[in-house]
């Protein structure tokens, strides 16, 4: 019950945030020079054709009026129509969401698969060579531009070794899975340095804590000490790291999806920005923002579940 009330409060408090975001996005994208009608109609566009398209999408009305009608539709759950594709934004989102979710999940899973064993290695061999290496090497990942990593991975793994499909998304879940490995790895590589450091710090904290020392003294096996206590704490700190970085994760899909030709929301967003497809930009931003807000909320709930000392306020 306590949690339910908390979730309710949090949800209510996100409304002004989402509203604010909608204002920022709406006015920002409309202030950007460029006209979707001219982009759509191309070099041979006549003024009449441009005017007709403006009228169809209400682009000829004052901007505040456009915002109000956007907001009005939003309240009815309608995200509007894409100017470029003349289709409901929501159905476009529905087509694009799967690839993006696959990518985000794959990136997270791979980041954890790489980080947890390395962090365990570092924490259990503190200040020895293994620890130094595990701490230093991932720092390289901090300065790697995502798109560059993507290009290099395609160059090395896909083309030279022919290990993975080089781009695209395939049609079956199995194909999705193999297509998602390289893009997922690209994002995961950027996350691991931070994940490893946080995990290592928290594991050392646990290993040094009184109850683990006691447990060891009581003769519990090394392995059981690590699994029982350390991983629980590791979970808390991974969730924290991932929660903090969800905005980064979501933003990285823009570039990564493009490099790997994934038909996700990131590529749709870039296309929409380039074509001034206002309704799509607004729709994708709102979905992205919702994802971030939702993940942050889930992070806090997960914390509370994993660590009884944390109070939800």
């Amino acid at each position: 019950m306590r949690h339910l009330a908390y979730v309710g409060r949090r949800l209510v408090s996100t409304i002004p945030v989402l509203l604010g975001i909608s204002v920022i996005v709406f006015f920002m994208i409309h202030l950007v020079p460029g006209d979707p009608a001219r982009t759509l109609l191309g070099v041979r566009a006549t003024d009449e054709a441009v005017a007709a398209l403006h009228a169809k999408f209400g682009l000829d009305r004052p901007i505040w009026e456009q915002y109000l009608s956007f907001l009005g539709r939003l309240l009815h759950g309608d995200l509007g129509r894409s100017i470029l594709y003349d289709t409901d934004v929501s159905s476009l989102l529905a087509l694009r969401l799967p690839a993006t979710l696959w990518l985000l999940v794959a990136a997270t899973v791979m980041a954890l698969l790489i980080s947890i064993p390395l962090a365990v290695l570092a924490a259990t061999h503190r200040d020895k060579l293994a620890d130094q290496v595990v701490r230093a090497v991932p720092l390289v990942g901090l300065g790697m531009p995502t798109f560059w990593v993507g290009i290099m991975l395609v160059l090395l793994l896909a083309l030279k070794v022919h290990a993975f499909p080089v781009s695209g998304f395939g049609k079956t879940p199995a194909q999705h899975l193999s297509s998602i490995i390289l893009p997922g790895l690209t994002i995961a590589l950027a996350l691991t340095p931070i994940l490893i450091r946080s995990l290592r710090t928290s594991m050392i904290g646990v290993l040094d804590s009184d109850y683990v020392v006691t447990a060891r003294a009581k003769g519990l096996s090394h392995r059981r000490v690590i699994t029982a206590h350390t991983l629980r704490n590791a979970a808390v700190s991974s969730i924290t790291v991932l929660g903090v970085n969800i905005a980064y994760l979501v933003g990285s899909t823009l570039v990564v999806e493009r490099v790997f030709a994934l038909p996700g929301m990131g590529t749709m967003m870039l296309d929409a920005i380039f074509n001034r497809d206002f309704p799509v930009v607004q729709g994708v931003t709102l979905v992205f923002a919702l994802m971030v807000v939702a993940v942050n909320l889930l992070t806090d709930l997960a914390h509370a579940a994993l660590d009884p000392r944390i109070e939800l306020a």
Binding site: V140, W148, N245, A247, G251, S252, L254, T285
Partner: protein, 299 residues
């Protein structure tokens, strides 16, 4: 939980911390200045090498970074061109060196403004609280809930290409991180003895903030700024990749990567080397940031 929102890179959640001071602002008897650790030394040396490479570019290379020679386009390495030439016949190694100037300068300056603005706002919000704090934190929430890179791209679109747009866009997005960090630190620090004492002694508020509080809350913001420079360089490079970075013909690593991309399968180094330059710069700054943290005895 206080967590910074950040342009384009992943970030570390802040560790709960003891208030501590920037050693060089309010040195602990001077002993800190000499106590360097290996991480800091390696990081600083790398950084110095990169900065020198940029500064000494005219000495290190006989070529002009923007002079074209259309008869010698895409030459392989050799023949006086250490890394060959690009599509317009310009020396790639020279452009790489000059790009260090551009990217480091723009990267550092792009962090300066959010640092100042964010720190000031965070300081005031933390100290005074009330409606100012409330409004500021809601604005922070909004910016945080945005995939920040989308925001930066859109802002640069709106403002038009140019370094000024890059500064403005990164500032508009980046200040929130500093505001959050400093606000959090102030909330802790203002309950500390020295702050309470200063308040009780009737000193003017600005004096307390500037003289007593600021030096104590700056460390965390400063450490973050170090890694933030990496992130802002990444943002600039990515903008360059999308064709919205530093205007041509000025060389920058991002546009070099993007220009080389069409030849990635035949002349891979045109893409790989500028990318490596970014990676090494990022590594240097990350090591410096790490070293500073270690030195201040935080971890």
């Amino acid at each position: 939980m206080t967590a910074p929102a950040v342009p384009v890179g992943p970030v570390e959640p802040l560790q709960p911390l003891q208030p501590s001071r920037l050693p060089w602002l309010r040195g602990r008897g001077g002993e800190g200045v000499l106590r360097l650790n290996p991480t800091l030394v390696i990081g600083l040396s790398l950084l110095v090498v990169i900065v020198l490479a940029g500064v000494l570019a005219p000495v290190l290379s006989p070529w002009d970074p923007v002079a074209q020679d259309l008869t010698a386009s895409l030459q392989p390495p050799g023949n006086g061109h250490l890394l060959g030439t690009d599509q317009l016949g310009r020396d790639v190694f020279t452009r790489l060196l000059y790009a260090a100037r551009v990217d480091l300068r723009v990267g550092a300056l792009a962090v300066l403004f959010p640092f100042i603005i964010g720190t000031t706002l965070g300081l005031l919000a933390g100290w005074f609280g009330g409606w100012f704090d409330l409004v500021l934190m809601r604005v922070v929430d909004m910016v945080v809930a945005f995939p920040s890179f989308v925001l930066i791209i859109a802002l640069v679109f709106a403002l038009g290409q140019g370094t000024a747009s890059i500064y403005i866009a990164i500032t508009l997005v980046g200040w929130v991180a500093y505001a959050r960090i400093v606000r959090g630190e102030v909330l802790v620090a203002k309950e500390q003895e020295y702050a309470l004492a200063a308040r009780a002694s009737g000193l003017p508020t600005w004096r307390i903030l500037l003289r007593h509080l600021l030096p104590n809350v700056l460390l965390q913001a400063f450490v973050f700024a170090m890694s933030d420079v990496v992130l802002s360089i990444l943002a600039i490079v990515t903008l360059g990749y999308l064709g919205l970075g530093v205007p041509p013909p000025t060389p920058d690593w991002g546009s070099m990567i993007s220009e080389g991309q069409n030849f990635v399968f035949t002349k891979w180094y045109l893409t790989a080397v500028p990318g490596l330059a970014v990676v090494v710069t990022g590594l240097a700054l990350a090591l410096v940031a790490d070293g500073v943290v270690q030195r201040s005895g935080r971890r």
